[in-house]
């Protein structure tokens, strides 16, 4: 049904929106700035920060623009002397619960609180800091929570609940309700980082790994390798004003080389190997009566979710390692040998759109010959910080290629970064493996787009392959219920914990919202379209590695596969 158009007037300017839209949404779409902090377009309006108060002609008092549904003909004033004064006082109250720790804050120069403080002449220390003694805590190796910066908007609680994780909750402590990690033994953080990208004040951020990486870079003994995840290339440009979804693959390579790192590998190239192994495993499971449906495992937050909340379904997870771990393993075995470098002296840094990847690299199951395949994970945002710290502006730098071969991915590997991409890549290769020839059309457009839940049946020879794709863990939970009712409804299920897949990950630049996620996703599909090679099995790296190293079951098992187990609660406070 087509929505009815309405017209409203904001500060004398007539703008149009749709019936049912809130005043703030229409204002944002029309580039009219109304101060706000707790609003996020992914979430329900909270109307708790009270900064978006506006005057609506004919209505008594002030209304919050984020929660007021616009009506045709509404006349709205977004600022006047009284509104400014009220905003100033409420900002002073917000600062009274927000301990300014600006120097190492994830918000950096883009702090909405500080910008508003300047705009409204706020005395940020008019009231003492109420939360100054609140201790900082960390969830696993992934998430840092500083409650002394929290303004109690509870966006984090909503996203955590929307993820069906429910680890963050509101608890009464003294005369206040506070955001706390759950003490319930059946709830634990899965490290997805959605709290980070939905926090307006930097109370949540990824655990910073920049220092560790800098130490390795300064260590002359170490050969440092940077490997870049698929989803990073269409988001990091945002940190340098390149626009949402801008493609920056070669700029990233150039930036890293400028840091003095010569080895820049592409995790998408490893994704091609994952595709080969996963397609093979799926075919084996189908033809040998193995456990089905097979679940993807490249999202570590999803893996943790399954291990903790649904250990009974662990056998459904593919045993194939995630691309970053697989690649780190190959680097420290095959590549190290070729280069004649002692793997102990190789330091692999992954650049990931993700906070859970910081957790994944600590999993003991992945250790090869006593070494972790990956030594450190920097999020997209952290890499941007490292660039800025070293005076590198991606917008200005001349493009460079990644390391030949190890930096050469197919289009299939690149689309891993968006929901549906893993499945599309696997299908392209599975069709080849089963029928001996490539599909006529390799673009599975029905698997694309950022809908939370997608499914398709694909006819491959005699087989009708049923696949489902979900992003967001509550959607995964719904699918799990469906599978329990009907175990044969799918052969293959792709799950990404974050909305839209990795492009909406917890380590991505902020802001992140549905429009931005869409642009980042489109960027990845554009890269795929422009690639000469778009099928994992046609990758030169894949061909070479399978010929030279992954030609024996022992090596394949050691480097490409892993195992999972039931997890105990890891975060007890």
């Amino acid at each position: 049904m087509e929505k009815k158009r309405i017209k409203i007037t904001i500060d004398g300017k007539e703008v149009s929106g749709f019936e049912g839209q809130r005043v703030l949404e229409i204002a944002i779409e029309n580039n009219i700035a109304i101060p706000n902090l707790c609003y996020h377009s992914d979430l329900k309006p909270k109307a708790s920060c009270r900064l978006c108060i506006v005057e609506i002609t004919g209505k008594r008092g002030y209304q919050t623009a984020c929660s007021t549904i616009a009506e045709d003909g509404m006349i709205i004033t977004t600022d006047n002397e009284e509104i400014s004064k009220l905003r100033k006082t409420n900002l002073e109250l917000l600062f009274s619960q927000h301990n300014e720790k600006c120097s190492d804050c994830v918000k950096g120069n883009d702090c909405r609180l500080l910008n508003l403080a300047q705009k409204y002449n706020v005395d940020i220390s008019r009231f003492t800091d109420r939360k100054i003694d609140f201790p900082e805590i960390e969830f696993g190796p992934s998430i840092h929570f500083d409650p002394s910066k929290c303004i109690d908007c509870k966006n984090c609680v909503e996203v955590c609940s929307h993820q069906n994780v429910k680890f963050l909750e509101v608890r009464e402590e003294g005369s206040f309700f506070q955001i706390c990690p759950s003490r319930n033994g059946k709830r634990d953080c899965v490290y997805c980082g959605q709290c980070v990208v939905h926090c307006p004040t930097g109370a949540f951020q990824g655990v910073d790994a920049i220092k560790i990486v800098e130490n390795a870079m300064n260590d002359v003994q170490k050969t440092v390798i940077f490997q870049i995840a698929p989803a990073v290339r269409t988001s990091i440009g945002e940190e340098f004003g390149m626009g949402y979804g801008a493609i920056a693959t070669e700029k990233i390579a150039a930036g890293i080389k400028k840091l003095g790192i010569n080895n820049v590998f592409d995790v998408s190239a490893a994704a091609d190997i994952v595709t080969m192994e996963e397609a093979e495993e799926l075919i084996q499971r189908i033809s040998n009566g193995g456990v089905l449906p097979m679940f993807t495992s490249c999202c570590p937050a999803w893996v943790k979710y399954l291990e903790f909340y649904h250990p009974e379904l662990i056998p459904n997870l593919t045993s194939v390692r995630s691309p970053q771990v697989l690649f780190g393993g190959l680097t420290k075995t095959f590549w190290a040998k070729k280069q004649e470098i002692d793997p102990k002296n190789i330091f692999v840094v992954s650049i990931m759109p993700c906070t859970a990847k910081k957790y994944e690299i600590k999993r003991e199951e992945n250790i090869i010959d006593g070494l972790n395949p990956v030594d450190a994970v920097l999020t997209t945002h952290e890499l941007a910080c490292l660039f800025k710290k070293n005076g590198i502006d991606l917008n200005l730098i001349e493009s460079e290629d990644m390391t030949p071969l190890w930096g050469d991915a197919t289009g299939a590997g690149v689309i891993y970064g968006t929901s549906g991409g893993v499945t599309e890549s696997a299908l392209r290769t599975a069709i080849f493996k089963i029928t001996g020839k490539n599909a006529e059309s390799i673009e599975f457009t029905n698997l694309r787009g950022l809908n939370e839940s997608k499914e398709a049946s694909v006819i491959i020879g005699d087989l009708t392959l049923k696949v489902a794709i979900v992003n967001g863990l509550s959607n995964a939970e719904k699918l799990i219920e469906k599978i329990k009712d009907n175990p044969n409804c799918y052969h293959y299920i792709e799950v990404m914990a974050c909305p839209g897949g990795c492009i909406g990950g917890g380590g991505q630049p902020m802001p992140t919202d549905s429009k931005i996620r869409k642009l980042r996703s489109e960027g990845l599909y554009k890269i795929d379209k422009d690639k000469q090679k778009r099928l994992a099995h046609e990758s030169a790296l894949v061909e070479g590695i399978y010929k030279e190293y992954l030609n024996d079951e022992k090596n394949i098992h050691k480097v490409c596969h892993t195992k999972y187990g039931k997890r105990k609660k890891e975060n007890n406070f």
Partner: protein, 332 residues
């Protein structure tokens, strides 16, 4: 308009919870909603300190107010009604009320924690989810209350009068809880049009010393001086008398501030942080008047719900009317 709603309109019954809203209008709004699934809530939270008039009715006239609820159930063919009682009343009257309710579709529920748990949208949220937090209005609960369905909420006393109106026995009275420095505290049923002066005199409670009164509840009720009492009582029928000479106004304000700071829901900035700062200044006996009045202003004009908007009332009326500078700090 149905017969009962017409009667409510003719009687000009105003809600006795405190907001003074015409009861017939609430009923009419619920009646007009075409959704067949409707709910009734009888609010017996009586969350303001030192107010016991609803308890008086629950204790002495339980059949009448339950009769009022049943009239509403029939009027709207309501799916279910809830009697929402604070912890104390729930313990004391749950069993005796259950006996009266019998097979009627009325459930007694124990109130959530905190003062805010008596606010109507917070009640809906609590009954649905067990979590106390007010909701954005609109929608009003007459359109979308419990489980998004049209919901009628009246207070215990209001339901009592509804039953009386239905039977033609309403005598335009109200129940008044009188507490504090008085000779004859308790709950009294008096004619609606009496002034506060007349009420105090008629109950033998008019002080023979200099005093002030808190009208409408022991937390958010407003302070009135003896010279202002020649006016009828409206809203929640609650009077608390203070001996001006013997009352330490800082102790009194600290009591209000602590009550509100602990009893609010912490959702919105002005109430969560503003009330805390008011409490802090009063507790430290160190009031910055400019700050204080800035806080009053954001509470009144930007709070999410009625509790926050009303939180400045007692402080402001006390400070302004008792000539705070002279009455204040140096005395304590």
């Amino acid at each position: 308009m149905s017969e009962i709603i017409l009667k409510l309109k003719e009687a000009n019954l105003l809600g006795r919870g405190g907001a003074n809203f015409p009861v017939w209008q609430k009923w009419e709004a619920v009646a007009k909603n075409s959704d067949p699934e409707k709910y009734i809530i009888c609010n017996g939270a009586e969350g303001e300190p030192d107010v016991h008039k609803d308890e008086y009715i629950i204790k002495n006239y339980p059949n009448d107010f339950i009769d009022g609820i049943i009239i509403a159930i029939k009027e709207f063919s309501a799916k279910k009604a809830y009697i929402y009682l604070n912890h104390n009343y729930y313990d004391k009257y749950k069993d005796s009320l259950s006996d009266i309710i019998g097979e009627a579709s009325i459930k007694i529920i124990e109130k959530g924690k905190g003062y805010i748990a008596g606010e109507e949208t917070a009640i809906c949220e609590f009954i649905e989810k067990g979590f106390v937090q007010p909701r954005q209005k609109p929608p009003f609960i007459s359109d979308a209350g419990l489980w998004g369905k049209p919901t009628l909420l009246n207070n215990v006393e209001t339901f009592y009068h509804i039953a009386k109106i239905n039977k033609g026995e309403y005598k335009d009275t109200r129940f008044i809880s009188i507490e504090g420095d008085v000779a004859n505290s308790g709950t009294f049923e008096k004619l609606n049009n009496l002034t506060i002066d007349e009420i105090l005199k008629g109950t033998g409670n008019y002080p023979d010393f200099d005093f002030f009164v808190q009208v409408g509840g022991g937390a958010e009720g407003l302070i009135m001086l003896p010279s202002e009492l020649n006016t009828p009582l409206s809203g929640c029928g609650a009077l608390k008398i203070f001996n001006k000479e013997k009352t330490d106004v800082f102790v009194l304000m600290e009591y209000w501030a602590n009550f509100l700071n602990c009893g609010n829901c912490d959702k919105c900035v002005p109430c969560r942080e503003g009330v805390y700062r008011i409490w802090e200044m009063i507790k430290n006996r160190d009031i910055d008047k400019e700050k204080l009045f800035d806080l009053f202003e954001v509470l009144e004009k930007t709070s999410f719900c009625g509790l926050g908007r009303g939180a400045s009332g007692p402080f402001k009326s006390l400070i302004l009317k008792l000539n705070f500078e002279k009455y204040g700090k140096e005395k304590n």
